[in-house]
C-alpha cells in the first residue's frame, strides 16, 4: 500500500465511498452529462482506481476530475461522509505533472491576487478599458475569431462604484456600547469589484451594534490556489491572514462563502511539509449571515417591496453547512419583503471559483438550469452570498429584469 500512499495522500478518503449511488442526482455535472465518470461516485472510483494503480490516465482522461465543480453537494447527501473537497485538493496537487495551472493563471494567483495594490491597479485598468468603448469592438472580434475567449470576455465583471469603499486600516464604532467586536475580511478582488457588499456589511453590523475593525495587512483567502492545487501558496496566505487579525475579536466576518469555506477548512495533504501549520481554526472566521443570526437582529428596519429568491452558495450550504433558513430568517426581518421559494436553491450555479472560465461549456449548462429556476420563481431580486455566484448569476440573468444582490445588501437597504 506504500505505492498508493505515494500516489494520492487522500487515498484513504476514497475508501469511504460504498458505491451506493445516493449522491448521483445531486451532482450538477452528472445532471448535465449523465455519465458516471462525471458523478461523485464515478470520480471517487477514478481516483481510487488511479491510486491503486488499476487505472492510468491517458492524456486528457482526468478531464472528469477537472470537470468537478467542487460544489460539495455530494458531501451534504453522502451518508458515508465523503469529503470531495479534500480528495480533489489532494488529487489536483499530486497528479502526474503536478498542479495544472496555465502560466497566466499562475502569474495572476501568485503575483497579482495576493497584493492589494496590484489588484487595485488592475481594476483601474479594467475600468478604463470599460469606459473606452473598446469592449464592444473586442467582443465582436473575439466572437468571430476565438469563441472561448469571447465568452471569458463577455463574463468580465462589471466593476461597481467604489465611492465610500471600506478602506483597509479603518475602524467603525456603533452608537452605544458595542454588542460585539468583529473583524471584516475583505478578500482579494471582491474588495475592489464588489465594494457595495463590504459597505453594506459594515452598515448592517453597525446597525446591529457591532464594532468593526478592518486590518490593513490581511490578504486573499487562498481558495483559488487550493482549487488549482497550489497548496503551499494557499498556506502562506492563510498564515498572513491569521497574523493580520487581532486576538481580541469575537469573530472575523466573511461575506464571501467561498472564502469562508476555505478559511475554515484545514489542509488535508498531511504528508507534505508544513501541513496544518496555519491551523485555520485558530482565527474565528464566521459567515456574516450565520454570525448575525446567532447574535440576534436588533437593528431598526423600514419596509422594502421586493420579491426575493435566495440562491444558496454551495460553499455556504455544503461547505460551511449554513442552512437556508439562517439567511431567510434574517431577510424576514425586513417588513414587506416577500420571499419566494427557489427550486434547487442548493444546487450549484456553475461559478465554482474560476471554474466558469476553465470549463465554460459545463458551467453554461449548469447555469442554464439555474437561470430557468430563478425566472420560474417569479422573483424580481435574487440574493446569494458569494462574489463568484453574484458575477455568474448577473451574467446568466443579463437579459432579464431580475436584480442579483448579496443578501447583506438587501438587509442594508432595509435598515431604517
Amino acid at each position: 500500500m506504500s505505492r498508493t500512499k505515494q500516489r494520492l495522500s487522500e487515498y484513504a478518503r476514497t475508501l469511504d465511498c460504498v458505491h451506493c449511488g445516493l449522491c448521483l442526482p445531486h451532482c450538477p455535472t452528472y445532471g448535465v452529462t449523465s455519465r458516471e465518470a462525471d458523478s461523485p461516485r464515478g470520480r471517487i472510483y477514478l481516483m481510487r482506481g488511479w491510486a491503486e494503480g488499476r487505472l492510468d490516465f491517458d492524456t486528457g482522461a482526468d478531464s472528469h476530475l477537472d470537470s468537478c465543480l467542487v460544489c460539495r453537494a455530494c458531501e451534504s447527501v453522502c451518508p458515508s461522509g465523503i469529503r470531495m473537497d479534500e480528495m480533489m485538493e489532494s488529487f489536483r496537487a499530486e497528479r502526474p505533472g503536478g498542479p495544472r495551472v496555465s502560466p497566466l493563471g499562475r502569474f495572476l494567483l501568485r503575483e497579482i491576487i495576493p497584493n492589494r495594490r496590484r489588484v487595485a491597479a488592475a481594476t483601474k485598468a479594467l475600468e478604463l478599458y470599460e469606459r473606452s468603448g473598446l469592449p464592444g469592438v473586442t467582443q465582436r472580434v473575439l466572437d468571430r475569431v476565438a469563441p472561448p475567449l469571447a465568452r471569458a470576455h463577455a463574463m468580465r465583471p462589471r466593476i461597481e462604484p467604489r465611492t465610500d469603499a471600506i478602506e483597509p486600516g479603518s475602524t467603525w464604532k456603533p452608537t452605544g456600547v458595542p454588542r460585539a467586536k468583529v473583524g471584516l475580511f475583505l478578500g482579494c478582488v471582491a474588495a475592489e469589484w464588489l465594494a457595495p457588499v463590504h459597505r453594506a456589511t459594515v452598515k448592517v453590523l453597525l446597525g446591529n451594534g457591532c464594532e468593526v475593525v478592518v486590518p490593513e495587512s490581511q490578504t486573499c483567502c487562498g481558495a483559488l490556489h487550493r482549487h488549482a492545487g497550489l497548496l503551499d501558496d494557499a498556506r502562506t496566505l492563510l498564515d498572513r491572514n491569521a497574523r493580520a487579525f487581532p486576538a481580541d475579536l469575537d469573530a472575523v466576518i466573511v461575506n464571501a462563502a467561498g472564502c469562508g469555506a476555505s478559511l475554515t477548512t484545514p489542509f488535508h495533504d498531511s504528508d507534505s511539509p508544513g501541513a496544518n501549520a496555519a491551523a485555520p481554526r485558530a482565527t474565528p472566521y464566521r459567515d456574516v449571515a450565520a454570525f448575525l443570526h446567532e447574535l440576534g437582529w436588533t437593528a431598526k428596519t423600514r419596509p422594502l417591496r421586493r420579491r426575493v429568491a435566495y440562491d444558496q452558495p454551495c460553499h455556504l450550504v455544503h461547505g460551511q453547512r449554513v442552512p437556508a433558513h439562517v439567511v431567510t430568517d434574517l431577510l424576514q426581518q425586513i417588513p414587506g419583503l416577500e420571499l419566494v421559494p427557489l427550486a434547487g436553491s442548493e444546487r450549484c450555479c456553475g461559478a465554482g471559483g474560476v471554474y466558469n472560465l476553465l470549463q465554460p461549456t459545463m458551467a453554461d449548462a449548469v447555469l442554464a438550469e439555474k437561470v430557468d429556476a430563478i425566472v420560474r420563481s417569479g422573483a424580481n431580486t435574487v440574493v446569494t452570498g458569494n462574489p463568484g455566484c453574484l458575477l455568474q448569476l448577473r451574467h446568466g440573468l443579463r437579459d432579464h429584469a431580475i436584480e442579483v444582490r448579496h443578501p447583506i445588501e438587501v438587509l442594508a437597504d432595509g435598515l431604517a
Binding site: C17, C20, G21, S34, A37
Partner: protein, 470 residues
C-alpha cells in the same frame, strides 16, 4: 482505444458524448452497488429514446453481443454489473413523466425516472407512488421493476409488482411489445407480472404504467428504543399478532445505530440503545388513536429506554432519517459493505438474528443489521476491507451461510434485492430441479440467443459458447 469493428458501426449512430468507449469512462461502470463483482463493459450507450434502445438491441442480436440494462446502479446483487464484451444500455436519460392521470390514479413514465420524482410530481394531486426503497432518492423505476423492489412502506402497500399496470418492453430480438395498461384487469396483466423482477433478462423496459396511491390523510410515526434486540423483536411479533397493519415496522441494531450516529443522518439515539424499532401508521384519523394507544402499550410492556413520536412531517422526517441513511452510514465502519437480503418468517426473526451474529463471529467479520421486521426481511450488512482477498473470501462464505440460515428457518434468499450475480448459485437452495428448469425454459423462450443480461438470476449456460467464439 480500439473497438471491435461492429461496435464502431453502431457508435456512428450516436453522438460521441452518448457512446462511451474510452477506457476511463468504462472503468467506472464496472460495478453497481455491490462492488465485489467487477467487469468493465465493451461500450456504454446512453439511450434517449425507445427507438435508440431498439436499434441497439437489434444490433446486439445481429452481432451476438450481450447487453446489460442499467439504471442508477444502486442494485445490491450485481444485476447491472456488465458481462464480458457487453454493450451497457444506460437508461438514465430516459426520465420523462409522460402522463399523470389523477382521476384514474396512474402515471406513465420512462424507465430512467428516479423513484422519488414520481411521488414529488404526484403530490399536488394528493397522490403518491407507494413503493419506497431506501434508495428512492437515487434509484430508477426501471431498476425497481427489474428487481421488484420493496421498501419500508411496502408492509402495507405491497412491493413494486403490486403497483405495475403496464409495460413497454424491447425484447431481446429488438421487437417491441406492450403489456397490460392503465386498467388493472387488462387481459395480459399476468404477462406484466412475469416481466417484473426479471432483472433485465427478458429485455429492456422502455415505458412503465404505474398505479398511484392516495396520500394517506394522517400519518403517525413512533420510535421505540430498547436496550436489547429481543425486546424489539418481541414487540414486532406482538404488533403483527394484534392484527394492526402498520405501514412500516423497521429495526436497527446496535452497530447500525452507532454508524448512523456518526453520519450526516445522525438521529440522536441514546448510546446504550441496542435496537431501535420504527413504527408508522397511516390512514384515516378515526381509529388511529386506538391503534396508536395499542402499539404504545405493547412497546411499553417490553420496557423501552425511550419512546418518541412524531406528528408533523418535519418530526417524521427526522425519525426516518437514521433509517434511510443506514446503509450508506455503514461506509464508515470499513472500506466496503456487503448488504445481504434474506427473508425469514417473522416468528423466526430473533433466532435467525442470533444465528447471523454467531456466523459473523465465527468468520471474524463485522455484521450489522437493519431490516424490514414487519415482513421478516433481514439485511445483514457486512463491513469489510475488499482489498484483502482473504477477508473478502470470509465475507462471501459468511454471507452464504447467513442465507442458508434464512432458508433453514423456512425463509428465502431474496426479499427485494434480486438474485443478480450474487445469488444465482444459491437458487438450488430454494428451488428443485424441475422449478429451475421451468424458469430457465421461460427465459430461453424469451431470449433464445442468451444475450439479455446473461448470467444474472441463473447460471449463464451460454457463456462458454460465447467465450469459445470470442
Amino acid at each position: 482505444m480500439s473497438l471491435p469493428d461492429p461496435f464502431r458501426e453502431l457508435a456512428r449512430r450516436f453522438p460521441a458524448d452518448r457512446f462511451l468507449t474510452d477506457r476511463t469512462e468504462l472503468f467506472v461502470y464496472e460495478c453497481d452497488g455491490l462492488p465485489v463483482h467487477r467487469q468493465p463493459p465493451a461500450a456504454v450507450v446512453l439511450c434517449e429514446t425507445r427507438d435508440e434502445v431498439v436499434a441497439c438491441v437489434k444490433w446486439c442480436a445481429a452481432n451476438e453481443v450481450p447487453f446489460v440494462p442499467r439504471g442508477a446502479g444502486t442494485g445490491l446483487s450485481g444485476g447491472a454489473t456488465p458481462v464480458r464484451g457487453c454493450l451497457l444500455l444506460d437508461l438514465n436519460r430516459m426520465r420523462a413523466i409522460r402522463k399523470i392521470d389523477a382521476r384514474s390514479r396512474y402515471a406513465v413514465v420512462e424507465p430512467g425516472l428516479i423513484n422519488v420524482r414520481l411521488t414529488e410530481a404526484a403530490k399536488p394531486h394528493r397522490l403518491m407512488y407507494a413503493p419506497d426503497p431506501s434508495s428512492q432518492t437515487a434509484c430508477t423505476l426501471g431498476g425497481n421493476i427489474a428487481e421488484n423492489s420493496g421498501g419500508p412502506h411496502c408492509l402495507k402497500y405491497g412491493v413494486t409488482i403490486d403497483h405495475v399496470l403496464g409495460l413497454e418492453v424491447v425484447l431481446p430480438d429488438g421487437e417491441v411489445v406492450r403489456l397490460g395498461g392503465p386498467i388493472a384487469d387488462h387481459p395480459d396483466h399476468d404477462l406484466v407480472q412475469l416481466f417484473v423482477g426479471a432483472e433485465g433478462t427478458f429485455g429492456v423496459v422502455t415505458e412503465i404504467t404505474l398505479r398511484l396511491t392516495p396520500d394517506p390523510p394522517e400519518v403517525r410515526t413512533f420510535l421505540a428504543i430498547f436496550d436489547s434486540m429481543a425486546k424489539a423483536c418481541r414487540t414486532v411479533t406482538e404488533i403483527t399478532r394484534s392484527g394492526i397493519v402498520p405501514v412500516a415496522l423497521e429495526i436497527l441494531d446496535r452497530r447500525t445505530i452507532e454508524a448512523v450516529e456518526a453520519s450526516v443522518n445522525r438521529a440522536g439515539y441514546p448510546t446504550n440503545a441496542a435496537a431501535v424499532l420504527l413504527v408508522e401508521l397511516d390512514g384515516f384519523a378515526a381509529g388511529m388513536d386506538e391503534e396508536e394507544r395499542a402499539i404504545v402499550a405493547m412497546a411499553r410492556a417490553n420496557d423501552p429506554i425511550e419512546l418518541r413520536s412524531a406528528r408533523d412531517p418535519a418530526e417524521r422526517v427526522a425519525l426516518w432519517k437514521g433509517r434511510k441513511g443506514a446503509f450508506g452510514a455503514m461506509g464508515r465502519v470499513d472500506t466496503d459493505l456487503y448488504v445481504l437480503d434474506g427473508v425469514v418468517p417473522r416468528t423466526a426473526l430473533e433466532e435467525t438474528l442470533e444465528k447471523v451474529y454467531e456466523i459473523a463471529d465465527r468468520y471474524r467479520v463485522k455484521v450489522s443489521n437493519v431490516f424490514h421486521a414487519g415482513d421478516g426481511n433481514l439485511h445483514p450488512n457486512i463491513s469489510y476491507d475488499g482489498r484483502d482477498a482473504d477477508v473478502t473470501a470470509r465475507v462471501l462464505a459468511a454471507g452464504e451461510e447467513m442465507l442458508r440460515a434464512c432458508v433453514a428457518a423456512g425463509g428465502s434468499i431474496s426479499g427485494e434485492h434480486g438474485i443478480g450475480l450474487e445469488k444465482r448459485d444459491f437458487m438450488p437452495l430454494l428451488f428443485g430441479e424441475g422449478d429451475l428448469a421451468l424458469m430457465t425454459g421461460i427465459r430461453d423462450a424469451i431470449d433464445p440467443e442468451g444475450i439479455a443480461n446473461p448470467g444474472k438470476g441463473f447460471p449463464d449456460r451460454r457463456a462458454k459458447r460465447r467465450k469459445a467464439r470470442a
